[in-house]
């Protein structure tokens, strides 16, 4: 199990790197657009490509951010008691996993139909939409993995430093 978790951790950090690469790509595209405009060369479709990179950065960033515990939630009642907290965390993780799987399922469906009907972007880029849309499935699938790992730790290894319960308690101690 330990080995699996090492690989998972690498996967999540890798997603962080992918998101970072998309962020750099946004910067490069926009700078290219500005330079293009200055020398009088129009760059059609760049705004669309930047939009796809934005989606890439967001969806790959989702799992990385969840792995680093940086998503926002109302923690008012999470800190009441350990037992209560366990129940709430369980409920939150089940809901999040459900929604994440639901999302991946319908994202696959969207991509399938985009591919089947040769959907192209309505912008000047005329990209075949299924290609950028792939990030939705990939990102949310990894997000599901992060959540499953957290659920596993919650149920079986509550004392692990990465477990949701341990995290919440250490935040309480800090403050």
């Amino acid at each position: 199990m330990l080995k699996t978790r090492v690989y998972l951790h690498r996967l999540f950090v890798f997603c962080g790197y992918l998101a970072a690469a998309f962020l750099i790509a946004i910067l490069v595209l926009i700078v290219a657009q500005v330079i293009g405009r200055l020398v009088g060369y129009t760059t059609p479709g760049i705004t669309n490509y930047a939009g796809y990179c934005m989606a890439g950065a967001s969806f790959f960033g989702l799992s990385y951010a969840m792995h680093c515990n940086s998503h926002i939630r109302v923690s008012l009642f999470l800190n009441l008691s350990t037992k209560f907290q366990f129940a709430l965390e369980l409920w939150c993780h089940l809901i999040a996993i459900g929604l994440s799987v639901f999302f991946s399922f319908y994202a696959s469906k969207m991509i399938f139909w985009s591919y089947k009907f040769h959907d192209v972007s309505q912008g000047q880029d005329a990209t075949a939409l299924w290609i950028p849309q792939l990030v939705t499935v990939m990102g949310t699938s990894v997000l599901t993995l992060v959540l499953l790992e957290r659920l596993y730790l919650l149920l079986f290894k509550p004392d692990d430093p990465m477990s949701p319960i341990f995290k919440a308690q250490s935040i309480n101690k800090e403050s």
Binding site: M54, S70, R73
Partner: protein, 435 residues
């Protein structure tokens, strides 16, 4: 009204999910699915993907990670150390002395970073120990810091304003320009408070630094000047219309990168730390925006926002009464949610009301930002209070009490904004009139 059942179910599911600690973005998606499944015959899964794909690929949204990245780079330079050293010689002769470094420091850092937590940590880290060493009253040190740090949300680049602009489809540049004058005005009122307080109470046992000549002052702040130039350039490029908000943000990132390299604080480690910080903050906001875009589609299907707007219209509220109702509403919501979540969660409902009442939507953006700023320093969930608690070790209650005067100043600001809407609308109109 016939929508009462719809509203109560939406609210019940929303409070249930948010209250039990479900991540805000997921909670909004959950409510959206329940709404579609119960009240319409449309398939929720396909609607979800359509809404979320469209909103995640929005061009104007790309300004968000770039501005976060710019702040993350400058956050890791020597800026935070220089902020106190560079400002204190200029402030020491004012009544209230170095307390003003808190306010001016926050104002400057707010122009670098779009978040109030980052502003608070950067400025507080340096100024709290220095001010305590000089015997400034504790409650004033903490109170001014808590209040002034909220300027991070108002002075451009402001993450809350980007999110607001993206959700209502308005120009982010205009919103940024609208935030400048009210932001500076609010900073001025904070400073005025410190001046009046210290004139009334008199200087107690504050240790003064030796006076410095103009040249020495300039030398102490030589590192601040490039940062100020960068900020002016970023905002100026939007104002003059040479660049869109996203383009200005990319100038900002490159400028910050150059500044950090010249200063010698740009290593591979800080570069990685800055970009990963940007990735995780912008993904956090992206999840909330995904949930919010789906929820507003879902509510749109049910016809609730339009119905509510019409219902409000039949009540014949004056503009002032409507704004007062919204003020109370947002202060309450802000007690439990962070600013960005509060804005995206409510805007689908509030936007039609505002447009119906003929209120300027840019002006309303500034109004909403002042109100969610106030919420940052109100218990039980005031984000700045938590950050300050972590930094100083004081109880939340104590910190909240020290921030009460700042809260009242912001409340006054809300009424000034209502009385003088030009504070917010004048600057963007200047831009509008340009070719």
């Amino acid at each position: 009204m016939e929508h009462i059942e719809l509203i109560s179910i939406f609210l019940f599911v929303l409070f249930l999910l948010l209250g039990t600690g479900v991540w805000v973005g997921f909670a909004l998606m959950g409510v959206a699915i329940v709404g579609i499944e119960l009240f319409t015959s449309r398939p929720s899964g396909d609607a979800m993907l359509t809404a979320i794909w469209a909103s995640s690929t929005s061009w104007s949204l790309t300004a968000l990670p770039l501005f976060i990245w710019m702040g993350e780079i400058l956050f890791r330079t020597k800026l935070s150390q220089d902020l106190f050293k560079g400002l204190s010689p200029w402030m020491s002769s004012l009544p209230g002395g170095l307390l003003h470094t808190n306010i001016v420091g926050c104002t400057i850092f707010a122009a670098v970073s779009g978040s109030s937590a980052a502003t608070l940590t950067t400025v507080g880290k340096m100024s709290i120990p220095e001010l305590e060493k000089r015997n400034y009253p504790r409650h004033l040190i903490i109170g001014t810091l808590a209040g002034a740090a909220t300027l991070g949300l108002m002075i451009p680049p402001s993450l809350t304003l980007i999110v607001y602009g993206v959700t209502i489809n308005e120009s982010i540049s205009k919103l940024f320009l609208a935030g400048i004058v009210p932001g500076l005005f609010l900073a001025g009122m904070f400073m005025l408070y410190v001046v009046i307080y210290s004139l009334v109470k008199g200087r107690q046992d504050i240790i003064l630094d030796g006076a410095k000549t103009f040249k020495q002052k300039l030398a102490a702040s030589r590192f601040l000047i490039p940062v100020l130039l960068l900020v002016t350039f970023v905002i100026g490029s939007m104002y003059s219309g040479i660049a869109t908000a996203t383009e200005a943000a990319s100038f900002g990132v490159i400028g910050a990168f150059i500044l950090a390299s010249v200063q010698g604080s740009m290593t591979v480690e800080t570069f990685k730390a800055s970009i990963f910080g940007a990735v995780s903050t912008s993904a956090m906001i992206a999840l909330i925006l995904m949930g919010a875009s789906f929820l507003s589609l879902s509510m749109g299907f049910t016809g609730l926002p339009r119905a509510l707007a019409e219902w409000i219209a039949t009540m014949d509220l004056s503009r002032f009464e409507l704004l007062m109702a919204l003020l109370v509403f947002y202060i309450i919501i802000g007690c439990f949610l962070d600013g960005i979540s509060a804005v995206v969660l409510t805007i689908a409902i509030v936007e039609p009301m505002i447009r119906q009442a003929g209120i300027d939507i840019i002006w309303f953006g500034i109004f909403i930002v002042v109100v969610v700023e106030m919420a940052q320093i109100t218990p039980p969930i005031g984000f700045n209070l938590f950050v300050l608690q972590g930094m100083t070790g004081h109880q939340i209650g104590y910190i909240a009490r020290t921030a009460v005067p700042m809260f009242l100043i912001m409340l006054l600001m809300v009424f000034i904004l209502i009385a003088l809407p030009e504070l917010a609308t004048w600057l963007p109109e200047q831009m509008r009139s340009r070719p």
